[in-house]
Symmetry: C2
Subunit: 212 residues, 2 copies
Amino acid sequence: MLEFAILGLLQEAPMHGYELRKELTAKLGAIRAAISYGTLYPTLRRLQAAGWITEAAETPATAEEVPALTSRRGRVVYTITAEGKERFAQLIAQAGPETYDDTGFGVHFAFFARTDQATRLRILEGRRRKIEERREGLRDVLGRAAERLDAYTLELQRHGLDACEREVRWLEELIANERSGRAPTVPQPGTAGGRRENDSPPPPGESRKERP
Amino acid sequence: MLEFAILGLLQEAPMHGYELRKELTAKLGAIRAAISYGTLYPTLRRLQAAGWITEAAETPATAEEVPALTSRRGRVVYTITAEGKERFAQLIAQAGPETYDDTGFGVHFAFFARTDQATRLRILEGRRRKIEERREGLRDVLGRAAERLDAYTLELQRHGLDACEREVRWLEELIANERSGRAPTVPQPGTAGGRRENDSPPPPGESRKERP
DNA sequence: GCCGCGATGTATCGGTTCGATACATCGCAC
DNA sequence: GTGCGATGTATCGAACCGATACATCGCGGC
């Protein structure tokens, strides 16, 4: 999962570890906590070993020697390779069961701008199916096993059931939207005041960000 | 986390692995997928080594010998010890940061019937604080970094933000309820042999919301 | 009669991820 | 000048997952 996210992010720009973590946190903040370095660095090494990314120690720009008595530990900048881009495309195409769990779906969704419409639709529908199953499971428990459980546990189930129903509705809207071929704009009943006229087209547009 | 849940469940009745998993799934179905055996069995072994639980091979009841040519692999029934109950109480009392993340909070909440009111209140408020922070983070991203992100990523953040707002309201209700409603104080069911009966604290009120 | 098949049941293995920790530099406020 | 928070790289043990293997039981279909 993290592999997927890293490959996706590095397609926007080369980055070093710390920056990668920040971008990851910004992009995936809605679905999971900040990624741990204990995961990030080993994964970067794994990706490099596989040839999907390359690492390069940052040279101080206009490199005069002066090896520096204070041996500056350079930042390590990671860049995606052509094979890495292929790999990313492959990861998008193939969908296992993990594509539809909470984290997997979230990560895939976060990179929908780089995903073609047919795949988006497939993922959205797979996720809906999975959530519907979870919903049915919760209804079963609330219906059949209710007397075996205490009031707090039941309240938790009710809360979860409501979340499922909400997510299904959300997915329905996204699916309908996707079918009609428009950008993802779900009408929200008076949410927080974040105004945006952001429009990222269905085809993967080259978005950009820059360096300090 | 799993340790906590197992200890909590085994206080209701002794169980074998498979049953434990089913009960766990029923109780925590709203917040996490079914627990893996690759986690369950090693954890049981760990708990046994620590002395919190004991394991006993199930005897076929009114044990006639007849070692059986078909060597029946007996079910292994786990029972909580006095030290295990102490341990559970200790785990309830002490709250680390992991008490307030999605999984940790869910598990603690699921065992609120065995938790005293003051602790329930503390956990509820800690969770609210954590969700409020996440909410602020999402608002920041949606406000300040919106132009850097594509429409799908933004939609994801909006969905997450909505979930946060919902959960905060849910928590508010639970907290208000907890403060006004008098203490449930859970009676401990008989340890061995007896089928558990239902002991429900006062209803945590009416509401439904959000995602796990 | 017997055959497959799904539910019950115990168990291990490899791999991913987390949380804590360590260490070093930079800029800025006190 | 000194502390301190942000930036930055890195490792280690432990928790947890998903796949897999293997065995028994009851039940319906042929």
